[in-house]
Symmetry: C2
Subunit: 482 residues, 2 copies
């Protein structure tokens, strides 16, 4: 593939959007597809997605969920069954009107999300309370006809998982909604090293057709928020629209209560914008496609490549390690390349190192260099490397948390709010009266949207709405957002 | 979920098509979607697909392939670039004509296969011979507007993988084509326990736009063949259509040579129709979603469920084991249920067994019962069970091979051919002059198609075409096919 120079990345502070585009294309994470708004997820980006999938899928299965696969195309009449849902999604749907050479009797929409088709099947499968809960998930592609797109963050097609469950009672649906939100928080924080604010969406930002929507919200390097995963308690809205009924314990027919929850390839955008720097990506070790790269130095000298290969063999069972002994590129070029790709640890190995039975380990997160002895059967370097990867994982989370804290401010009035958004963009904690008018006005004046009402309703020393000054109901997080 | 009785399955000999439908729906492998021709892959079917994916994906990665993801929607103009390709696929394409409320300037086709969109990207990425080979694969859904459909075997949407590679020379492309075909043979035989006939397709059956198509062909229980995977050497056809060029070793610009290869959820249909019997499915242990099920007997008696749980815990790290201690169903009902679902081993555990520190193991493939002592820390039963699963795997392959051999006959003339197809339907080995007219005539008269010209060109004691009697070029396998 074509080679790029590290110095071709635009610095973050010069133009953050350009920095993002430079990083994702030059690291070959993604490319622009010939159809506007669509992306090609390239090998390095897809390998990251596979590791993200694995982390989530394991948690879904541990909590009793199974995967299924539902059709890509949904009859228009299905979309129309839930009023709010169709209003929310119809404007951004891609329509299939012809199959082969024939015009279809009814248009089919390419799924923007699958509640409607899945609910139609659930209605068929559900008989008795004994069949419940239904705990299913789907890994799939979805299409939403977006006007303004950016790879990973907002694209006309993206990959995601969508969980869809049915329960006997509203309370059980609520428990499930929060259980999955907690899994989202846990996996994004522990694997993606991204600290999350966890809470409930306002009515305005709620999923089309939901009773309540909950979210995990992350703060990007530029101070904008990224909605990173949502979990919806759908109440009995979809059950009523699709006739999902069962014979209850009291022998009477009743409606089920459903939930849905999803995370997508958008998370890749989050990883890039939370951890990246002017040199490129920084991959959290637990999901890094390559956790460590071995780069031989003076590889033309006898024994260097052989030693590098022996080290690779010793490490490859425990670590996702890559050996780059390509003769066409210099070690210096490779250092830059893997730094840009965000590989957590670089292992340098030259003739001197081999003589001393040691390696040089370089951390991507801090740039720190360590001289590490191989030890008997490479046991020492294996242990040091594994510990180092865990340390980098923790440090990356801490750095992201520190950045978020520095970028989280409190506003008791609109003047402070406006100043903060301009001078130190990030999360703004403010009290809110729960009136839609104030939410709208804040957006209009500052560009910030209500990200969530956090579960942790701390006392910020005010009980009046930041906008209207009336009695406030809730502490909320505001931010400009992707 | 709703419960079915085992005796509701139509016997194979009465109506094989009905048997198939009964088995796939009653075992909850799949259901019919609201849009005609589409399927819902349910949890048990999808878990099988996940295991199939894992087996193939591991082999792809071992041979240096990486996964990517390309867009679902392809501009009509791309499809039109390769003449044979568009002729082959245009009649079965689903067309997106509207995005949101707007009509699109150019129709987009929902990918029926991705050569065109992938080649357009490869043309962009390829510069020098140093960039080659491109070795990429995609796991994705595809849509083909089929008139006659049957779940897994032929559906308007299915899941598959499609490998797409580019090479410096024709010879390297040919090597890759055969390498992937060999991986297909290996995985289907070793994991799916399905013996394959491996060979080349005739010109008539070649992939639209390919230089040559190779195939693995399996024989179903009813004597019909199933094309189970294909690998195509695309020559420079797509490279020329999409301008995939590079600077060669001689510093001159030249076209690349490409391949593509795919297997799909169709393989699930193959597993069902090769191994199944009148009692339902038989899952090959290496890919079985559940390898062994523990069923407590007289579970109301003290200690029975506890013992079953202890056994489950002892086994679950080594075996995909399920404990069914649901009180609502009798052991007899469960025996039938898991037999129907094809779980390779049933483990019965009752008060007497616990007293004797033993279990009863029942094989799904032969029905044989074994009394097995737990041993210290369950070590003995663990070992016996693991060995038993491997033995079942081998036996299932042998049974399928025996069936195929019994159903493979030789024909030197059309009369024998016709009689064989009627009295002992299966593969017919016959000599062929390579003339399309004879291939067409055989189809017209017998309903059999040319499945492949096997790599193993054995001497069947004739060198004249089974149809026209002229000098024959090739031994070919014929069969009626799904």
């Amino acid at each position: 593939m074509a080679k790029q120079k590290k110095d071709a990345i635009t610095p973050m502070d010069v133009d953050f959007a350009k920095w993002y585009t430079d990083v994702i294309t030059k690291t070959e994470m993604v490319d622009y597809a010939p159809v506007k708004g669509f992306m090609v997820i390239r090998a390095y980006g897809y390998a990251l997605w596979e590791n993200i999938q694995k982390a989530f899928d394991a948690e879904f299965k541990k909590t009793g969920h199974q995967n299924m696969y539902f059709p890509l195309l949904i009859p228009e009449s299905f979309l129309n069954k839930e009023k709010e849902h169709v209003e929310g999604f119809a404007p951004e749907v891609a329509w299939v009107t012809h199959g082969g050479n024939e015009e279809l009797a009814e248009r089919l929409c390419v799924r923007p999300t699958s509640e409607t088709i899945i609910c139609s099947m659930y209605a068929k499968w559900l008989n008795s309370y004994r069949d419940l809960p239904f705990l299913y998930n789907q890994w799939a592609n979805v299409v939403r006809w977006e006007k303004t797109t950016r790879p990973f963050l907002r694209t006309s097609e993206f990959l995601w998982q969508e969980g869809h469950t049915v329960h006997e009672t509203f309370e059980e649906a609520q428990e499930e909604t929060l259980r999955m939100l907690e899994i989202y928080r846990k996996v994004t924080e522990e694997f993606l090293a991204i600290p999350m604010v966890v809470g409930q969406k306002s009515e305005k930002e709620r999923f089309a057709g939901a009773h309540a929507t909950y979210t995990i919200e992350a703060l990007m390097h530029d101070g904008q928020a990224l909605q990173s995963g949502t979990s919806h308690n759908l109440g009995d809205h979809f059950a009523k629209a699709f006739d999902i009924k069962f014979l209850g314990r009291d022998n009477k027919e009743q409606y089920g209560y459903s939930t849905s929850w999803g995370v997508s390839t958008r998370l890749i955008g989050g990883i890039i914008m939370v951890h990246g720097d002017d040199n490129g990506l920084k991959m959290p070790p637990r999901i890094a496609p390559i956790q460590a790269v071995i780069i031989p130095v003076q590889q033309h000298k006898e024994g260097v490549v052989d030693s590098a290969k022996a080290l690779f063999e010793a490490l490859c069972d425990d670590v996702r390690v890559k050996l780059d002994d390509n003769e066409n590129n210099t070690p210096g070029w490779k250092f830059n390349e893997y730094e840009m790709k965000g590989v957590p640890v670089r292992i340098e190995l030259g003739p001197k190192d081999i003589e001393n039975r040691q390696c040089v380990l370089v951390r991507r997160d801090t740039g720190e260099k360590l001289f590490v002895e191989w030890g008997e059967n490479y046991e020492n370097i294996k242990k040091v490397l594994c510990d180092l990867l865990e340390d980098i994982q923790k440090n990356m989370y801490q750095m992201a948390l520190k950045h978020r804290e520095e970028r989280t401010t409190v506003a008791h009035d609109m003047e402070t709010f406006e100043t903060s958004i301009k001078t130190n963009p990030g999360f703004i904690k403010a009290m809110w009266c729960e009136d839609r008018a104030c939410e709208d006005k804040i957006k209009e004046v500052t560009g910030a949207t209500l990200r969530c009402m956090p579960f942790e309703q701390e006392n910020i020393g005010s009980d009046t709405c930041v906008c209207c000054g009336k009695k406030a109901q809730k502490l909320a997080y505001f931010a400009r957002a992707y």
